[in-house]
Symmetry: C2
Subunit: 214 residues, 2 copies
């Protein structure tokens, strides 16, 4: 039975219902921990489900920052202060700790300590990686674009460094996200493990889809 919801229906929903529904609409998204450090060298960690690919050359990643308020300003303030952040894939073994970073900790508490995750540092940047994460990306702030419709911000980072298990890197550069156990997020608080990964070749008109062995 198909249900149809209009913009008026959406406007009349309770806030929690609408939040759950609208956050489900993009489909599954990547579960990533964003690592930052303050000017005072205090580390911070926050889970995001909005990391997306902006471009490959230069290598740019984007994420949507909610309107900056007293409660969620730590990640944003740190990115602005240092010009750096890290993206760290969440897998099954750390998913509860990763979700716990979404609790509202005071500014003087590091989510690394509070949630039981370990910072790891590279010579290339100050921002901390999550040592337990199997796919770690270090970035420098490249642009910050205000979305005036709702006061969110598109943060764009340029990739400075990628750290990952070599065995998950296929010969052609593709990362075996399924073997690395990278999780997908449904809505704000659902997590699932993508399985049975298939790869297709570039599609061409009038030619049947071909699977790629990898």
């Amino acid at each position: 039975m198909q249900k149809v919801l209009s913009a008026t229906d959406i406007a009349q929903m309770t806030k929690p219902y609408r939040t759950n529904l609208i956050n489900s609409l993009p489909g599954f998204r990547g579960a990533n921990l964003i690592g930052t450090i303050s000017a005072e060298k205090r580390t911070n960690l926050a889970i995001f489900n909005s990391v997306t690919h902006i471009g490959a050359n230069p290598a740019l990643m984007g994420l949507i920052m909610r309107p900056v308020s007293e409660e969620n300003r730590h990640t944003y303030a740190n990115i602005k202060a240092t010009g750096q952040f890290t993206i760290n894939h969440v897998h099954q073994l750390i998913v509860e700790k990763a979700h716990q970073t979404s609790a509202r900790y005071p500014v003087d508490v590091s989510e690394f300590d509070a949630c039981g995750l370990s910072p790891a540092f590279s010579e290339l940047l100050q921002a901390p990686y999550v040592a337990e994460s199997f796919i770690q990306i270090g970035l420098e702030l490249a642009d910050e674009i205000p979305i005036t419709l709702n006061q969110t911000i598109l943060i764009i980072g340029k990739v400075l460094e990628i750290r990952l298990e070599e065995k998950w890197l296929a010969e052609d550069g593709f990362i075996r996200l399924d073997q690395a156990g990278s999780l997908a997020v449904a809505g704000l608080e659902g997590y699932a493990q993508p399985q049975e990964l298939v790869r297709y070749a570039h599609a061409k008109p009038n030619q049947a889809i071909q699977r790629v062995a990898f």
Copy 2:
């Protein structure tokens, strides 16, 4: 064995290798078909992996449009001409047809016809839905934000209508994306089925993570 890749390494990669690698970095993303129609009433369908949530109230979805060229201008031109587009989740039964929409068809060929998918129309908008898709979202263009770093564009749509199977809508508004079979994309051309979905309650400091039954 951890492998470390620097920005210099990335710059020196072959284009296909870099494309595969950098597109894998955000982790899994939603597989969505974008439906549009031209001023001349020609339908168009294109697969995107960059749909993201911008906000719940008003309900806004974003997607990243690659630099507009002769080859990929159809979706963009149609969104500009009509001010509308649809987002349609891809599931296992239509994944090959959905991937086939990425082939380069001439402007006078509708990917619906060429790939064997069926347009479905609502009274609310001209842009076509994908009849075979279980979760369909109709949107009007709300903003278009140029990303000057690489000439991509953030397209933002306001949700006008949501059409989905009622059985996948939980009591609290959460959509059972796992039951609906919504697929996740790895890189540009890998597809996987997220399974074993768990949901957690809002995290709070000093309280163990709680699962939510649903």
